[in-house]
């Protein structure tokens, strides 16, 4: 079968169309694409992180004065703000990924690059966040009294630092697995297509 012989048939093929397609109604729907889903996820995470300090404050409203003097609380507020900034950065990346009007090759290259960039930032950001809390747990008892942290500090440094090392390693392995499960196949597919267009 020759492709050129089928051009006439191709152009006169009966295509099943929906006669009642309402274009303006269709655009009212939310996008079902993976990037739109990512953006919705980032938005939700930003809202949660912004509300967390407020929830903690409300839950401890009986001791509001003590809470406002707590370094741990304010460190957590700073942490939440930094996480929101991180998700906002992710959100911006996703917004750039959503623009589809470039040529197919350029779009595939852009999608691959941005997705890799996002995954790289995630792999860097998570250990930094954990190191921030480890530092806080180690330094805070010297500045302010916290019963729970003092108990932790009574343990041998080998146990404490061993636990931190385990947590960092565990976080690294879990993050890699999650990234692979959520984006691995998609990223490989994009890379294959980019390679296909470069041949």
């Amino acid at each position: 079968m020759e492709l050129d012989d089928l051009k006439k048939s191709w152009n006169s093929q009966p295509i099943q169309t929906n006669k009642n397609t309402n274009i303006m109604e269709l655009i009212q729907h939310k996008s079902g694409g993976p990037v739109a889903a990512l953006k919705r996820g980032f938005k939700a995470q930003m809202r949660i992180m912004l509300l967390m300090p407020l929830f903690i404050f409300i839950a401890n409203s009986m001791n509001a004065e003590g809470l406002l003097k707590s370094i741990l609380f304010w460190s957590y507020v700073v942490f939440c703000v930094l996480v929101v900034a991180f998700f906002y950065f992710d959100y911006r990346i996703a917004t750039r990924m959503e623009v589809m009007e470039g040529a197919v090759k350029a779009n595939l290259e852009k999608q691959t690059l941005l997705l890799e960039k996002r995954l790289r930032w995630k792999m860097i950001g998570l250990p930094i966040a954990m190191l921030f809390f480890i530092l806080l747990v180690e330094v805070l008892p010297y500045v302010q009294h916290y019963k729970m942290l003092n108990t932790w500090h009574n343990l041998s440094p080998f146990i404490r630092f061993g636990a931190y090392a385990f947590l960092l390693l565990f976080q690294y392995v879990v993050s890699r697995r999650i990234n692979e499960r959520r984006f691995g196949a998609h990223l490989r597919h994009l890379k294959e297509l980019v390679k296909e267009m470069q041949d």
Partner: protein, 165 residues
Amino acid sequence: MLHGAEKEFEKKVAEHELLLHKVCRMYAANHADRQDLFQEIVIQLWKGYPKFRGDSKFSTWLYRIAINTAITGLRRKKDFVDSYEPANLPEVRPDDSGRENQEEQLGLLYAAIAQLNDIEKAIVMLYMEERTYEEMEDILGMSGGALRVKMVRIKDKLRQLTKNN
């Protein structure tokens, strides 16, 4: 956006609706997936429409967004056309008896196309739609030389695939 722009968009998309359905037929296996893809493409077109300044033909812009969306903009489902399973193939609606042979040929072609990768599918579709190589370069971002080489390979591949079936 102004009501006038909405009307203009609706009119332009309606004029090119058949083209969009062909893209959906190329990349989605069944009616439900094709409807999802069609909706997703229209949403992406609407999002990009305010930036469309007419530097390229409307159909070129539309093809870019439609193909980009089909390839990367929709969640991959297991039942998307990815193998030569007769049940997975897009149905060819019978019209009249005189067209039976033509329908059969097209059915075979779609079966073979289902085994191509996403880029090859786009190239075949644009070729069959009789787009010039310059326009294909604009849509896909590949050089004319590379496209011609790919086209020769794809024709060979399809010839082999249809011979085997």
